[in-house]
Point group: D2
């Protein structure tokens, strides 16, 4: 049992509310409306910029050279991913100017700044636990949706699914799981675990809200939904 397993178990259905969200299900079926996916991609790009900052924060909080190097590698990987993102979005009909002019929506602000604040108010383990739903969740989703690619050679979201199903991303996620165990190797008492589970649960809910935010953006009948107002 890894710490990640313990945390997933501790938050119960909040984990699957995120990893099996309607957005994910419809994406796997190839039935997700393109506008929802485009809205998600734009917000995810803005999200990555803040996640790069979160990895920089992890580097800053490191007390050993090994920790520093690991966090710096994470930072470089995310910055590389934003480049990929810029190219991919073009293929999905989003012009680079659109990406640059986009504004963070409330769900994007809430999730990203929550993670950054966990890192500021807590220690490195608090920060990595706040980052975990993103890495581990996407890896799980990639594995779950991969069979859909075999079934449908012309799957509309092939590139996205393939990226997270890929062994490279899977290895990153496994390394992140081991990393949590290393950071917690000293023993995690009940109060600490409760705090970590609180962070992990909140981050998972914020991930689910992030999917929902994209669904709402494409919903024909969502004119007055305040969560869709661009907020920052």
């Amino acid at each position: 049992m890894t710490l990640f397993d313990d945390l997933t178990r501790a938050i119960g259905s909040q984990w699957t509310d995120y990893t099996e969200h309607e957005f994910v299900r419809r994406l796997g079926e190839g039935a997700l409306p393109l506008p929802a996916f485009q809205d998600y991609l734009v917000q995810d790009y803005l999200f990555l910029i803040q996640f790069a900052r979160a990895n920089a924060l992890a580097a800053f909080k490191s007390t050993s050279l090994a920790d520093l190097e690991q966090a710096a590698a994470g930072l470089s990987a995310i910055l590389h991913e934003t480049g990929l993102h810029r190219r991919l979005t073009a293929g999905w009909g989003i012009a680079p100017e659109q990406l640059d002019a986009a504004r963070e929506k409330q769900g994007t602000v809430a999730y990203t700044r929550f993670v950054l604040d966990c890192g500021m108010s807590g220690d490195l383990l608090d920060l990595q636990v706040a980052l975990a739903p993103c890495t581990m969740g996407y890896a799980e989703i990639g594995r779950a949706l991969a069979p859909a690619l075999e079934a449908d050679p012309r799957h509309p979201y092939r590139d996205w699914i393939a990226e997270y199903a890929d062994e490279g991303f899977q290895a990153t996620a496994r390394a992140a799981i081991r990393r949590l165990d290393e950071l917690g190797a000293d023993g995690i008492g009940p109060r600490r675990f409760a705090r970590l589970a609180e962070i992990f649960g909140a981050a998972s809910r914020l991930e689910a809200d992030f999917w929902q935010q994209a669904l709402n953006a494409a919903a024909p009948s969502a004119p007055a939904d305040p969560s869709q107002k661009e907020t920052a």
Copy 2:
């Protein structure tokens, strides 16, 4: 013209979208449903805890004893306000246990962590500008709604309106306006102003979302609104 005036002008209707929001208007008319107000109060209590942290951050970022003392006084004032809040909410039918068990909603997380991050990534002026919509906006709302108290001696939201219309709070807001000018006394170039206006606009939108979040909570037809999911 104060910096605050310049910022308010720069963000245009985003300021009045917040200060003249439907929640505010109905509160002034005494027509706001109690559940919306109760939902607001609970979230506002959670909000104050994070705002106390933002003032602590301002103290930490101070480089002079005078700045430190001012920020420490702000911190004490907010902590005092949370005590008041605990007592007031009881009068509005919210048990202390309910307050303690409450979870931050997405709009609360987004606004509070955004402000904290402005303080972490920028300097003291960035932080104070992020805090400004709260202080100055509430003072403006207090002044705007005060006449309603004279018109209706049994106004249901008298205590709340009176608190922000009160000369004590008004003086605090005026001091905060002067403070922005002190912090910017050295001259604010166009790039810096654009960044400050961006922060001020985002914080104002997040305030408006905060009102909307409470309206949604009490709306009979808002079962599936994701912005109402408790997120952190």
Copy 3:
């Protein structure tokens, strides 16, 4: 056994190198040259400003209202102490202008910024452990030197010794000891303890250096000592 006891034991003679430093011994005997004491007082004033910031940081890092209130009280207490300091130094022949114009020496910079960085890179317990040598050490020194006041009714450093021997300060130190145990109540594994002992040891050495810095300032034969150059 408190965590504080464990930490004191873990760092061995580094604790007494600080609490029984020559500066302390001569201060107790009333034999400390006034210039050394004056130099110390000026640097200690600059030190307190940074320690106020460290308490503000503790407030910022708090995740509960109770933690916030405790840290805010600590911040207020230190700011109050700086006022006392300003008045006391006048009595010891240091003009207020001298205090305001003073520059931090290297030992002052090293100690204060080390503590602040422990708080930024670690969590609340790391920060409180970095602050502990100051609070607990001064209380211990106050108790150790108190008998000297009875022996000598005209002790030249009576006011200083009396302040730290006073029950008020002793109670603060006892509360700080209990606080460390609360923060560590969840269990402290060997790796974490090693890290805390490293912080505690470094802070104790930096305290000893702080005494030595003042002795050197008053030493007739210390013209070229680089540690006495004012550095920040």
Copy 4:
């Protein structure tokens, strides 16, 4: 006139006290005792770890992707430099275990934590100004000492001098000078300039103390120098 020129002028002889320090002069003459150089190298290694953290902090404080990428590149470059350092020190008679077991001295703690705190309490420009004496100073020293290598083909400190005289490092320093001007492009008022000059002066004095610390370590008659006590 660049901002860097203005800052150098503003701090007067504090700049040359650093760049033309006795350590530098004797290093250029090939007359620096090896123990002084070895002591410097070990502390410089510890210094680089904290400077990597300072660059991570710059990345965290970035608000644009371009700033983030620049800071991340700086972080990678420093981490790369620590690897070089580990290999170079072996050639100068310092075993890797010695490097790993080394403890930061007071001058190392003071300088590094001062820079980190400038970054935490201020904004990105404050942080970059605190980092400037290191980058620009070493480039200036490299240029000043380069002729010594031509005069003496068997110069004992050839590798060190060559590294900083190298066009690669010189280009980095020129880019850092331009970077300061970009960050200040919006205009720097007198109060802000005074604050930046204060930071720049303090960092330069801390650099000079860093050289002196190494000289003292090798001085036969410096047994009781408290600045040589290992502090953190």
